[in-house]
């Protein structure tokens, strides 16, 4: 069946076998539209293409660029980010964005997204983009609920609910960085 042969598809369940990347930096999937939206907005490209350590100025510039983007682009980014939360329900997605489900529903149904929402959406989108470079999308939920030492033993889901978006973003950036063998 064609669906089962498709790595992106969630149909057929989790076929990855492992949540964590065996070969960090491997890009198993084509570029996703989050990239295109972000790039078109001059978003986080400065951060992700730069050094592995965060650059505060670049980060703030990217955030400002995103916040200055049009309502339409922000809304598209929200929709696309939700699409990449593979295996999650709407309410669980709202949790990760620290929103009440009824508020997220309003935004999805066309209410203007406030600019203050932009960093959360953008960082969650970037987290997923990094993550899906190294694990199958169908493994997203398992990864979100796995305790990780670099997050002080928290799961990524818990960290996101505590609004530690930047920490989780840094963690996923480390997955895509160069590998040093000793």
């Amino acid at each position: 069946m064609p669906v089962s042969d498709t790595a992106h598809s969630s149909v057929g369940g989790d076929r990855s076998g492992s949540v964590f990347p065996l070969s960090p930096g491997t890009t198993g999937h084509e570029a996703n539209p989050i990239d295109q939206v972000v790039e078109s907005l001059g978003g986080l490209s400065e951060v992700t293409s730069g050094a592995s350590a965060p650059d505060g100025d670049a980060y703030m510039r990217a955030m400002r660029a995103f916040q200055n983007a049009g309502v339409r682009e922000r809304s598209t980014s929200l929709h696309v980010t939700l699409a990449h939360l593979d295996g999650m329900t709407f309410d669980e997605a709202a949790d990760l964005l620290n929103l009440k489900p009824e508020n997220l529903k309003r935004y999805v149904h066309g209410h203007s997204l406030p600019r203050t929402m932009a960093p959360r959406i953008e960082m969650l989108g970037e987290i997923l983009r990094n993550l899906h470079r190294v694990i199958r999308p169908s493994a997203t939920v398992r990864w979100l609920h796995t305790e990780i030492p670099d997050l002080d033993g928290m799961t990524p889901a818990t960290a996101l609910k505590k609004r530690k978006y930047e920490e989780v973003l840094e963690l996923t950036k480390s997955y895509t960085g160069p590998v040093t063998y000793t």
């Binding site: 069946m1 064609p2 669906v3 498709t6 790595a7 992106h8 598809s9 969630s10 149909v11 057929g12 996703n32 539209p33 339409r72 809304s75 598209t76 929200l78 929709h79 696309v80 980010t81 939700l82 699409a83 990449h84 939360l85 999650m88 329900t89 709407f90 997605a93 489900p101 997220l104 529903k105 999805v108 149904h109 066309g110």
Partner: protein
């Protein structure tokens, strides 16, 4: 418990007459689905499986003539269509402001259809969050083709006389066409059968039937029946429920559609005669060839 028209062999047909099978789930209008932004997440989520995207929007033009002639133009809400293949697609997803549908002209097992539908409903729930369903319907359109019949009464070799009613009678003049609509109440659910024939059957004219085809409505998968050396008979069965199921990866929806599928299959087996069964080349479900359908 679905409608049961009696027991039948658990077989699939190598020459299945299935023209299209379509599940449509309706919900309260979500006006954000009028714009590409509203559908962007859903499309992104299913893009790997249904990569070909095309919007379709119909316009109505009404011309009034007379002393005060005028032209009124109105536009229908868009329907966003996503297909697995660019041409001669096997699977098509359509989404509009108040519905989602999945459609195919061939599947080997209803489980495959349900698996694809559940994937779509999960994505719809997460990226659109529609209301509970206002209607859930499953429709199977069959086009039965046999060698050209000299008289409509010959359909009795292939189909039950009870179904054919007047068609089976020796009428004093030639029967030009017959299309009948039967509605059966099944609790709150409704089971509708439209069936009949016409010398030059045009499925585009049948109300509500969404036929696989291009934007012009041209049939891509219609067998050659009704044209040339064949006669064609339509059996279009629609089973629907108004129960407000929550939309998403929902086992209850899956179970409901399984019951609907069984009810439709049960009716189809009841309706056909042994001569037609042989023509359709049944095989037991355990030895399903790649091109067979239920």
């Amino acid at each position: 418990m679905s409608i049961d028209f009696g027991s039948h062999d658990d077989v699939v047909f190598k020459k299945a007459p299935l023209l299209t099978v379509l599940c449509q789930i309706q919900f309260e209008p979500v006006l954000s689905l009028m714009s590409p932004v509203g559908v962007s997440g859903f499309q992104e989520g299913i893009r790997a499986v249904y990569p070909h995207f095309s919007p379709s929007q119909a316009a109505n033009v009404a011309v009034t003539t007379g002393n005060r002639s005028r032209i009124d133009v109105s536009q229908e809400p868009p329907i966003w269509r996503m297909r697995d293949l660019a041409t001669d697609w096997h699977w098509r997803v359509s989404i509009g402001v108040n519905f989602i549908s999945l459609e195919t002209h061939r599947y080997t097992d209803f489980g495959e259809f349900l698996e694809r539908l559940m994937f779509l409903l999960g994505m719809l729930e997460r990226t659109v969050k529609p209301s509970d369903a206002t209607r859930i319907g499953l429709r199977k359109v069959n086009s039965i083709c046999v060698d050209r019949l000299e008289s409509p009464t010959e359909w009795t070799r292939y189909l039950r006389p009870e179904l054919l009613s007047l068609i089976a009678m020796d009428l004093p003049r030639e029967l030009a066409s017959s299309l009948t609509d039967i509605r059966i109440k099944d609790g709150v659910n409704e089971f509708v059968v439209r069936h009949g024939f016409a010398p030059s059957m045009n499925f585009d004219d049948i109300p509500g039937v969404m036929i696989p085809g291009d934007q012009t409505g041209e049939l891509q998968h219609l067998p050659s029946g009704g044209k040339g050396n064949e006669s064609q008979y339509l059996v279009d069965i629609d089973y629907s429920s108004p129960v407000p199921y929550p939309i998403g990866r929902n086992e209850a929806i899956s179970e409901l559609l399984r019951e609907f599928s069984e009810g439709i299959t049960s009716f189809f087996h009841w309706a056909i005669q042994p001569d037609l069964v042989r023509l359709l080349e049944p095989v037991s479900r355990g030895e399903v060839p790649a091109n067979a359908s239920e």
